[in-house]
Symmetry: D2
Subunit: 363 residues, 4 copies
């Protein structure tokens, strides 16, 4: 015991935390049993939001170094994985909230107007820090800065809009990745050749298949065609740029190619951590989407087709934003550009030697 003794409840600030449940129903009328649940569940959300922000902030510092310290990647994955575990609990907390019936909610709902979850500053910060800047938001969602927020919170959020996001930092980090193209070697040229021979062989098989109904044949050939088009865009600087500028792609061409390279060679020691990092981003996106979706369903369950306390159009809006607000969609789309292992060009030894550890078991 080298430090002054502390006590559990002091250390955890329980005097604050456990005295922050002031029931409006008690203030204005008859205590509604479920208001405690309503408050505590939201507070638990806010606590976890604080933790998520703590992790994103630290990851943003580490990933924006140039170059990123190789030791940092393990730490980054460790912390992103922590966010994933927290998100699983966030999703489960909805099940707790749903033990409140809509009749029970109605006993205190009127007192809360115009407070609304849309005013959660921390959740907005998470969205922005991950990458959901205003330009990507739906109309109705764009103006939350003008919502009933404290002035200092508005300022904070507007300042955050100017900071690089996790998505942007990841993009820069990917763009800096060597290996794909060098003066001596262009992997992507070979990759395009591989794709073309794969598509050509597929086409021949379809055309020569006697058992296929002409309609099926047409369908299959159209499929091949649309696959080809996806690849064409990937490798055409101009087309890609246009889609990037329209916000249809959120990763630059070079960043996307680097991400594909990582996927293709994910077992190489130097790519094991980057591959996990990309997988974590996909998990985080999926879990926030699922949370948004389930949240929309819960609001539907609680309010039916009524308008929410914050004046939002409720569950319909939430469902729309579920899909729109996905930040790391480009990493889901990577699958579009992968080809079976047997077609992937082998890397030359001059590149391959850079992908391992400096230590060799013969050392």
């Amino acid at each position: 015991m080298k430090y002054p003794p502390i006590y559990y409840s002091d250390y955890l600030g329980l005097d604050k935390v456990l005295n922050a449940q002031d029931l409006k129903s008690k203030e204005y009328g008859k205590e509604a049993h479920e208001e405690t649940l309503f408050i505590i569940t939201h507070q638990a959300y806010e606590l976890w939001f604080k933790q998520i922000l703590h992790e994103i902030k630290s990851v943003n510092v580490l990933i924006s170094e140039n170059p990123v310290n190789p030791n940092s990647l393990g730490i980054i994955n460790h912390r992103l994985n922590r966010i994933v575990q927290i998100q699983k609990v966030l999703n489960e907390q909805l099940t707790i909230m749903e033990t409140m019936s809509s009749s029970e909610f109605m006993e205190f709902r009127d007192y809360l107007v115009p407070a609304s979850g849309f005013q959660s500053v921390q959740f907005r910060k998470i969205e922005i820090m991950l990458g959901l800047k205003q330009k990507y938001r739906l109309g109705i969602d764009k103006q939350f800065f003008n919502a009933r927020l404290r002035e200092e919170d508005k300022k904070d959020l507007l300042a955050l809009e100017e900071e690089p996001t996790l998505l942007e930092n990841i993009e820069k980090w990917l763009e800096r990745m060597p290996f794909g193209t060098s003066k001596k070697y262009d992997f992507w040229n070979e990759y395009q050749n591989a794709i073309n021979s794969m598509l050509q062989s597929d086409k021949e098989v379809i055309e020569n298949n006697q058992t296929l109904h002409p309609k099926e044949k047409e369908f299959e050939l159209n499929n091949l065609d649309s696959t080809k088009k996806s690849f064409d865009i990937l490798f055409d600087d101009e087309s890609y740029k246009k889609l990037y500028q329209n916000n249809e792609f959120r990763l630059s061409q070079n960043a996307k190619l680097a991400a594909i390279f990582i996927q293709l060679f994910r077992h190489e020691p130097i790519f094991q951590a980057p591959y996990r990092l990309l997988t974590c981003l996909v998990d985080i996106d999926e879990l926030f989407s699922t949370w948004r979706y389930r949240h929309a369903i819960m609001v539907h369950r609680m309010l039916g087709t009524k308008i929410g306390t914050g004046g939002s159009s409720g569950h319909e809006y939430l469902k729309k934003s579920t899909e729109n607000n996905r930040v790391f969609k480009d990493f889901f789309d990577l699958a579009t550009f992968l080809i079976p292992n047997s077609y992937v060009p082998e890397l030359p030894a001059s590149i391959k030697k850079h992908l391992g550890f400096s230590f060799k078991s013969s050392d």
Copy 2:
């Protein structure tokens, strides 16, 4: 031991179950490590689908009796709750599937064409038996009978389309509920009066509120108006009927009123089990929706924007059907028609005495 001794593996038919994993990758090329996972996960789904069908069938028998045996309601809830617990596992199984990367899937995906989860006869049966008849399906989804199914399966599914569904059985059961309206007493008349005086009082408050900005005032009054319209439709036989015939409502007016009555008086002994039953339906709907949504996300993750093995347009289609295929949406919408307890008209003693047990503690 009164019966011939049996052995664990014989009892469970493990010779069949554990020898039903035939890898196509082994047959046509190099064994793909993850194909085992792909097969086993789908088989686990099908096993649970069989269990869900077992429960729905039994519930359909019990709920379609006229009158339903009061002892049955406990059993029905017990079995619906079992479906809910199974659904939670179905959702978690997606997380297992997602441990297969899209590159790993690509190692055997071509061998599977044109097999597709869309051909799961059991899942189609679950959908139909719950209430998703063809008329409610999206265009693309309507013709799955014409998909590559065995003739006997097609026949089974078409026959099932003619059977009463769980939704229809529940509707009939609700329609038969007494209490709401009788010769002597019309609860709904009083409920409408209550609604009107509630809305009137809300209106006055808004109009007299000096602190409200005119725009806010307008917004609030519009809100009130749309609430009023919802109630008007509920009580207007003609308007209701039209929406019912257009499939916008899936419960008849009388069934919906009975469901509202159950919600309002859910603590009365006679309504405790019916209320749980309605809650189970909402849970089941929510969990299948969540499963469909997460399934769509998983397909996106695995295939990017490629076309699925069954020729389906993949995750975009799945997302659309997520919302459309919700069978018990009307039970979510009930919240629209609830009012705070303090406004709910009291039941006359002549009705109230029917809602308890025959046994009184003074007996």
Copy 3:
């Protein structure tokens, strides 16, 4: 908007909740990244403990009325089920905590001495209010009142020891249940006869079974014998009392018989809610046990065989208390006393008519 407008962050007291994370590592040395996680996770636990206490308190009020209002049983089950859902989240929160490695914990652990989770007053209150009074605790656990707690907390806990617990209230409620025995009818007499004829028939089958090895025969007969003994104790007032007084049984004989009766006739309308209530108690016990078990494992993982900050002997102690602190074990043991349906004596009409609703569909 009838009430003064409130804002999300004010309503939720976020100024308090989100400013209650004071890192000791920052105060005494270098900020340890994971200390935030450690504090927030514990705070989330305490918030949920507050909610659980809120529910137990309200259930204790409702279940201790004499007679219990039949409307209350639905509410009681609703709230016990909410505790169950919260417990599932409590268990999942351990997975979050485990994203902190033991090396990371070591960066701030020394600053916390002698604070310890054993000093959570709310958790102690939950234990006591459920039924874990001092007399049932293990030696080491008995003296936590003397632990480093604030004086007012000690007083609160000692006062709570004098209050009726949930277990005691349930016991009283069960003891008051009619039906089992009345002047005209003794169900338990018939039940004992049924048991005897079942055991007799089993015995004959075993003795006449030519295929059984003598050792197996002996084993089976011993089994039957021990089953018989369990039943003998159940029906022998004296033996039962002794075990009850030794705290081996925590339910009185009459309460236990009533619980068995509820299980046997759980489908009767009047027993549907009581049966669910007993099931909820079993669920709650199971989930707290699982939490205690997983908590012990987590401590093992974090500290190895070191002593905990509060001076406790760590995970070994936690494992012992896991089994000892199970409050509703008697409800698990009920299974011992059930017999197959076909053996259960039918109730006479004079009893049976009391188990349904006053309303008959012919009314």
Copy 4:
């Protein structure tokens, strides 16, 4: 479509899988509704067991190579993590099983004698392949080979006992790890010095602490002493060997030291994957323990204190084996031997340079 078209139900062998549910209750008496659940749940377990075996087998191949291919470590972690995800579902499946009440189980339980989960050959294989050889089992558990198993299964299991287990393969892999000790450098010598100076400084602080009650002082000093003893054993070849030979330690001294080294330098690129591997083993152990514990609780719930169908003494036995059958306990114990970062000796540059990638960003 290059391959013969296949159909969903043929590909998945659904004719076998969905026709393997033969109800004994139907054969011998009246169909028991819940027997379907009982069979299907067990079959789902067996399917997942097959998948887990598939993963363990492949990991055993990769980890037993000498040297292990650095590319393999990513694959190994990927597959171990898959086992973890499956285990989470295995735990959740218990919740499904528990929707069967003990009364419902009793309707068909007698038909199953003497079948028992103890006869699951696949589960035994998992246990053995992870590392639970006969010598580590509890008495009652040692003889399951003599249980009612098919001859070929017995042979398989006995043969498996002779194969190297995952634990043994990991041990060998750890023992081969360089870095800790070389001719030029002995890290462990420095680590012992660091420990000694840490313990000495702790001792002085305690002895000079005037505010400590003599009893507390004694307690703290005893604590220090027992910590010292743990470290002494770790570094004393003779004492360590004895405990290893008594099966109290399941990792050799060199393997344990290598594991500690990995933990201490887990952020170095070359240790990121090994560290994850150790974490996965801990997770697997924790999840099987939790499963065993919850399984014991479920049996208690279903049978009370009755004897299981297989003749086992039921839940009491299961609880004992929960703790005993933990295979990777030594990796939990590692925490005992860690010290705060600030005390950990720095590695010399000659070692450190071996821990990174061959590629430097300046290349």
